[in-house]
């Protein structure tokens, strides 16, 4: 039985990987970032997306007027903190928050001024949103309404994705959303112009809502770039939304034309609520206000399950059987991606994880780790008493099924044959081994296979050698 390698590092790595938005920001020009940092709300939101150590480093030098010598700061770093510390510094340098320097640490002046202003308050930027005057005709929606609205919009999108190509026809999201899904490669238009979910779309479905939301927004940002929208304005509007308060109406008057145009898109995603398309007020939904926090972006009262989503709903047994306490069509549809569903009750779905069902999921591009992490995050509270949470047999088996797919691996390269003598062969083989390019060798047949990138060297070596002999 092949051993299943479980790499603990991969978990910590993913925990430490920077937020998806930050990776995007790192690709932006310094000029654009500096413009973005002019708004205190943007600074605060970006600050929150950073990792804890990066936040602390910023805080340590936020209130200092002069630059700190690098040696002073590194004196505080403990032995095990060395690597995270240098990682953090390079992340901050790429974001142009702490410019690269070999001697001094200082914050980007714009960023410093804005973050200071965000924390102390005051100023006249109005970057935290201008509250609207109460409108006598339309009372602002209460939080429950907003949540229901956001949930409905969001699940419409996901449900459309998951049931595409199954013959069902759920409600279609708006054209803009469909376009975005297609642009992002989550869905693709197959023959006859029908949208069909792609393998990355399947992966997308297994992510937690927070990651899904950011993934879509990032696509939105890419699209905005192509549509010649001002990226800084788009970004600062999104970041401003994240600092707004749920259940409060804000005025559209101070928004730039780009931002006003965005409102329509954001309405489609369920981030923003407006009582009519031309309204002068808007309300951020929970999807928007939790953009920079890790609290659940969707309301807890999901469907009629009564908080079942928040609690987790999946019970998985060692015999591969799976019980899902849910009546949410979206969750059932997602489960259907990798579970062979057998029976359905008013609040319970029963199925089994089988080789076929997992193979089907793998064929769709879903990885074993994604399945396992989905099962882990949605495990029923009853399961959380188990240690480890999921039955090891099932976890290992899912990984093994994935390994089955990876039996053959192709690699381009060159086969070297017809060596004149055994000595010749060994001499070249030795050289190639030193370069670490040998993929396979067979001394009896006097041939070996080298990878593509080693070819030039080996070829040169053989030529030089034959030239030398000649």
């Amino acid at each position: 039985m092949p051993s299943v390698e479980h790499n603990p590092d991969s978990v910590t790595q993913s925990e430490w990987s920077p937020h998806i938005l930050l990776t995007f920001l790192q690709s932006q020009s310094q000029n654009a970032l500096t413009r973005l940092y002019q708004r205190p709300s943007s600074c605060l939101s970006i600050f929150r997306l950073l990792r804890p150590l990066e936040r602390q480093l910023i805080m340590n030098i936020l209130w200092l007027e002069s630059a700190t010598p690098l040696s002073t700061m590194s004196a505080w770093v403990t032995q095990e903190g060395k690597k995270p510390y240098s990682d953090s510094l390079s992340t901050l340098a790429r974001l142009h928050i702490i410019p690269n320097s070999t001697t001094k640490l200082a914050l980007n002046a714009t960023f410093r001024a804005s973050l200071r202003q965000a924390i102390t308050g005051g100023g006249t930027t109005g970057s935290f949103g201008v509250p609207a005057e109460p409108d006598p005709q339309h009372s602002p929606p209460d939080i429950a309404t907003l949540d229901a609205y956001a949930l409905e919009r969001w699940e419409t999108i996901l449900h459309y994705m998951v049931s595409s190509g199954t013959g069902q026809h759920p409600t279609k999201p708006s054209q803009e959303v469909l376009f975005l899904l297609q642009r992002s490669g989550l869905m693709t238009r197959v023959h006859g112009g029908v949208l069909q979910i792609t393998s990355s779309g399947f992966q997308f479905l297994l992510h937690d809502p927070h990651a899904q939301l950011w993934e879509l927004l990032l696509q939105f940002l890419h699209m905005a770039e192509e549509r010649q929208m001002d990226l800084v304005e788009v970004l600062s509007f999104l970041l401003m939304l994240s600092t707004m308060e749920l259940g409060r109406e804000y005025s559209t008057e101070n928004l730039s034309p780009t931002q006003s145009a965005m409102l329509a898109d954001l309405r489609n995603y369920g981030l923003v609520w407006q009582h009519s398309t031309s309204a002068r007020q808007f309300c951020p939904s929970r999807l928007a206000t939790t953009l920079t926090s890790s609290s659940p972006p969707l309301p807890t009262s999901r469907s009629t399950g009564g908080g079942s989503h928040d609690q987790g709903f999946i019970v998985l047994e060692t015999n591969y059987r799976l019980y899902a306490y849910t009546d949410n069509p979206l969750q059932i549809a997602v489960l259907n991606l990798f579970v062979n569903l057998k029976s359905r009750f008013p609040n319970l779905v029963v199925g089994a994880i089988t080789r076929e069902s997992v193979k089907k999921a793998l064929a769709n591009g879903i990885t074993a780790d994604q399945i396992i992490s989905y099962l882990t995050t949605h495990a029923h509270p009853q399961m959380r008493k188990n240690k480890p949470l999921l039955p090891v047999t099932v976890q290992d088996q899912i990984r093994l099924w994935e390994l089955e797919k990876n039996r053959l691996k192709s690699q381009e390269g060159y086969l070297y044959t017809a060596f004149a003598s055994q000595a010749d062969y060994e001499y070249v083989l030795n050289y190639a081994k030193q370069l670490d390019v040998v993929l396979w060798d067979n001394p009896t047949k006097r041939c070996f296979f080298g990878s593509l990138d080693g070819h030039a060297n080996i070829r040169g070596f053989i030529e030089r050698r034959s030239a030398g002999i000649a």
Partner: protein, 450 residues
């Protein structure tokens, strides 16, 4: 390559197992299979019919423990049962005298563990023996937490003799080590109470008069096989003023009851796992000193005494390393005995060189709450005589309920229908959670700061 040739076979095996799973699964839906699937079905049926005489698998019934089921009220809520538990806890606390009483602070305890074959019984899960070890570990940790100046020794009863498992020590780690190695403690043979008590008694004989001597017996057997007359041993214990407490796991035995009654200890028979733990943990707080017992002995050795104690200098981690007297290891941190300057690793302890008792002031302070307990809060039954009642708990700022809540059944005694408990000194109101927390953990009233 050789491995590749094997793969088809491997492949086949793999899919076979899948089919198995699948078949089993399909069958269970038709309730034809065995195991879990059927169990569910039957469970449903039983619920419908109430108590059914016909139980195909008797062994399954052994999993349902009557004492685990908490009674629900008519509405199916557990609220009443939970409140009942809280109320019981409160009433127990009310029974305890609020005034400062004399308690034995410097305790010496011998933990006597039954390691006879009776401990392998499975009436407590997983076995009596495993459960005893587990609870003993929790007991030791908690005991040292509350009695920082105390010492514990461990003696086992196995194969008719008493076995010394751990010397008397004030270091919780050493005691835990003594009872951590399960394979060394494997139960066997008959227990002998007399032999074990004699051994425990001999290891307490050197102790000073002001300290308490206690023996705690966890006894699972229903017999004892003794070489002589155990009543003579009992008389010796009474003479030495050793207090014996017994937690029996099986049933009450006359001799055990007598041991406890004559020496002023507590006797209890554990009904179940939870009760076992309760019985054990009841013995953690320092016992009140019995005023009558010493007087009866003529007061020749009154337990009160003045003790000489040293307060050591703590060496920081950065001091130059030196050898410690307890383990002869080179290390920088440690404590210096104020009398002889010897360096010890841990306090409280007796100095290995000059025998002075070395304690640090926090250790003394840890015992103070036994001596100066927080006064019991009084349940507020109505707000008629309070001019302007506070709207939230004085401790945690949790808002109070406005309307009185209906109490479930007779459990309401000692409970406030308003969820308010008032400190008799500062007249501030507290919520039930803070009431418990203040008396059990903080030992200091947030209102009056005492």
């Amino acid at each position: 390559m050789p491995p590749r040739r094997l793969e088809p076979g491997y492949h086949d095996g793999e899919s076979d197992s899948d089919v198995d799973i699948f078949d089993d699964f399909g069958a269970s839906a038709k309730s034809k299979g065995k195991g879990k699937g059927k169990a569910i079905d039957r469970g449903k049926k039983e619920k419908g019919k109430g108590t059914s005489k016909e139980q195909p698998y008797a062994w399954e019934a052994s999993y349902t423990r009557s004492w685990d089921t908490v009674q629900e009220d008519e509405a199916g809520s557990l609220q009443g049962a939970v409140e009942d538990l809280i109320a019981r806890g409160r009433r127990r606390r009310l029974l305890a005298p609020a005034a400062a009483i004399r308690r034995t602070i410097i305790r010496h305890l011998i933990l006597l563990l039954d390691l006879s074959s009776a401990m392998m019984d499975r009436d407590m899960r997983p076995t009596r023996f495993d459960l005893m070890l587990q609870y003993a570990r929790e007991f030791v940790t908690e005991w040292f937490d509350q009695n920082p100046l105390g010492q514990i020794g461990v003696v086992g009863m196995r194969a008719g003799i008493g076995e010394r498992l751990g010397e008397m020590t004030g270091n919780p780690q050493e005691v835990l080590k003594a009872i951590s190695e399960r394979h060394k403690l494997e139960p066997t043979g008959e227990p002998s109470l007399q032999n074990a008590i004699d051994m425990a008694r001999s290891s307490t004989s050197h102790l000073p008069t002001h300290s308490s001597r206690e023996i705690l017996i966890i006894f699972g057997s229903l017999t004892t096989c003794d070489p002589g007359n155990i009543h003579e041993t009992l008389a010796e214990c009474v003479k030495d003023r050793i207090r014996i407490s017994v937690v029996a796991l099986a049933a009450e035995m006359k001799i055990c009851r007598e041991l406890c009654d004559k020496t002023g200890g507590q006797f209890g028979v554990a009904l179940n796992e939870g009760h076992f733990k309760d019985l054990l943990f009841e013995l953690i707080p320092p016992p009140a000193q019995r005023a009558t017992a010493p007087n009866a002995r003529g007061g020749a050795t009154a337990p009160a005494d003045l003790m000489m104690m040293g307060f050591p200098t703590r060496l920081p981690d950065t001091s130059p390393p030196s050898l410690c007297v307890c383990h002869s290891k080179l290390k920088s941190e440690g404590f210096l005995c104020p009398r002889c300057g010897a360096k010890v690793c841990d306090v409280p302890t007796d100095c290995d060189i000059c025998g002075l008792m070395i304690v640090s002031s926090p250790h003394l302070a840890r015992s103070y709450h036994h001596l100066f307990p927080v006064k019991t809060y009084q349940a507020v039954t109505d707000l008629d005589d309070t001019p302007n009642p506070s709207s939230s708990c004085h401790g945690c700022a949790r808002p109070f309920k406005n309307a009185p809540q209906q109490m479930a059944g007779s459990s309401g005694e000692g409970m406030s229908p308003l969820g308010r408990y008032r400190c008799p000194d500062c007249h501030n109101d507290f919520c039930p959670e803070c009431d418990v927390f203040v008396h059990d953990v903080v030992h200091c009233c947030p209102g009056c700061g005492k």
